[in-house]
Symmetry: none
Subunit: 254 residues, 2 copies
């Protein structure tokens, strides 16, 4: 499996979304363990963009020492590592009494057997290739459920105007009315809502909402924007606006 040539992240300078924080106000600390540079680069960029403090480790041994020293709030751990298996890293950490929640990365086909039992301890997994929005959402979910946050931005519920989205139930409502979305539509809307009142470009959307190995054209974004409009804005004052030549913006009707 090869990864997209150069993950050129189209980021705006500085985010201003409500950010997850630790109880003492300091940034979330994350460790990313993977032997593919392109992937760790991509992830560290994305997580730092979330305002988190990130450390990297290329293999299981380094992972163990980095985790012991850095004491992260969350760990992103590839199952397939050059030295010790990611599942063994989990076991050694737990044997030490370390309870840090872990998000496993795994290839799509190797899922069923080896991942068994992972979700009971509050850990989770994501199959490669994934979208950054999905990964970050899962991480925030894990942190939320680990109960280590006080912050109200750690809510599974997002509201923009009369538009509501719940990440636990996957429910979306406009003015109280339940709206049925597909997985991709849901992720796109979540991204727009998390960036409400800010223009996001099609490239940014593609980088965040679609998998990093997506090979198609950016016109899918237009198509999905169109789907969303039909479902979200239908017959109502529009919340999704086109900024021609720049991108899209979602904002409450004033």
């Amino acid at each position: 499996m090869s990864i997209h040539p150069a993950p050129s992240l189209h980021t705006t300078a500085n985010a201003s979304q409500p950010r997850l924080r630790r109880p003492d106000g300091s940034p979330i600390r994350a460790v990313v363990v993977d032997d593919e540079d392109s992937l760790t680069d991509l992830l560290s960029m994305a997580l730092r963009y979330e305002g988190w403090d990130v450390r990297l480790a290329p293999d299981g041994q380094k992972a163990l020492s980095v985790v012991r020293e850095f004491r992260p709030d969350i760990i992103v751990l590839d199952i397939m590592l050059p030295d010790i298996d990611g599942l063994q890293v989990l076991q050694r950490l737990r044997a030490d009494g370390n309870q840090t929640p872990i998000l496993f990365l795994t290839a799509k086909d190797s899922v069923d057997d080896r991942i068994a039992g992972l979700t009971v301890g509050g850990d989770d997994y994501v199959t490669k290739p994934f979208s950054l929005e999905e990964l970050v959402a899962r991480l925030r979910g894990l942190i939320r459920r680990s109960g280590m946050t006080v912050d109200d931005s750690a809510d599974s519920h997002i509201e923009v105007g009369d538009l509501e989205l719940d990440e636990d139930s996957y429910e979306v409502r406009r003015d109280g009315e339940l709206i049925d979305l597909t997985a991709t539509e849901f992720e796109l809307l979540r991204y727009l809502m998390r960036n409400a009142r800010r223009v996001v470009s099609k490239m940014q959307i593609l980088d965040r909402v679609w998998s990093y190995d997506f090979g198609g054209k950016s016109s899918v974004v237009e198509i999905y924007i169109s789907y969303l409009r039909k479902k979200i804005d239908a017959g109502r004052p529009p919340m999704i606006h086109t900024v021609r030549g720049v991108g899209y913006i979602l904002k409450p009707t004033r």
Copy 2:
């Protein structure tokens, strides 16, 4: 300031489920006694995920000292231990005047009369291999019956919309009508109800509802969902919904 006519989506904010607590609000204290690391690992993870405070002991001697020092609300005790027999651990504890309820773990074939007599003393047993839902349900039952909880989440009765489930009588009703379920169907429904209004993945279901040694495919879940739908949703507004690519959710019909 506008008022939303819509019912708030707010689910049980942070915690995964309403959690059992001691009268003073502190977490349930449990001791797990077993000499197999993989099993104690699994159990401690699962119980900690329930929000409980867990201590481990690998044999009978350690069990006695840990119990005396930690004063747990509940003990999970394997019958087969390297040193002293689990039943003797029971006797010694009771000789000390310790009345902590005990859940015994036993191999399926070794269920003799001695163990059958346990339930009269207020204790209980579960045969290996078991599902975590069953084990935790039994533990909650023991705690409930030991009368040490005040909490209303310690009820044996679960209601979601017009769907009712009673863990003591194993009765399930939809709109008052009694519905007959098999053991697996019952456990799956209990899991869905305990996680009502939240999407759970097939993997999560498999990890919780099926035995830890289940080696099959996650497509069994689809089949049991289909069975449940036939019995629960038959001819009625559906409560079980598929979230394609994510999992299943049970919620009241609005």
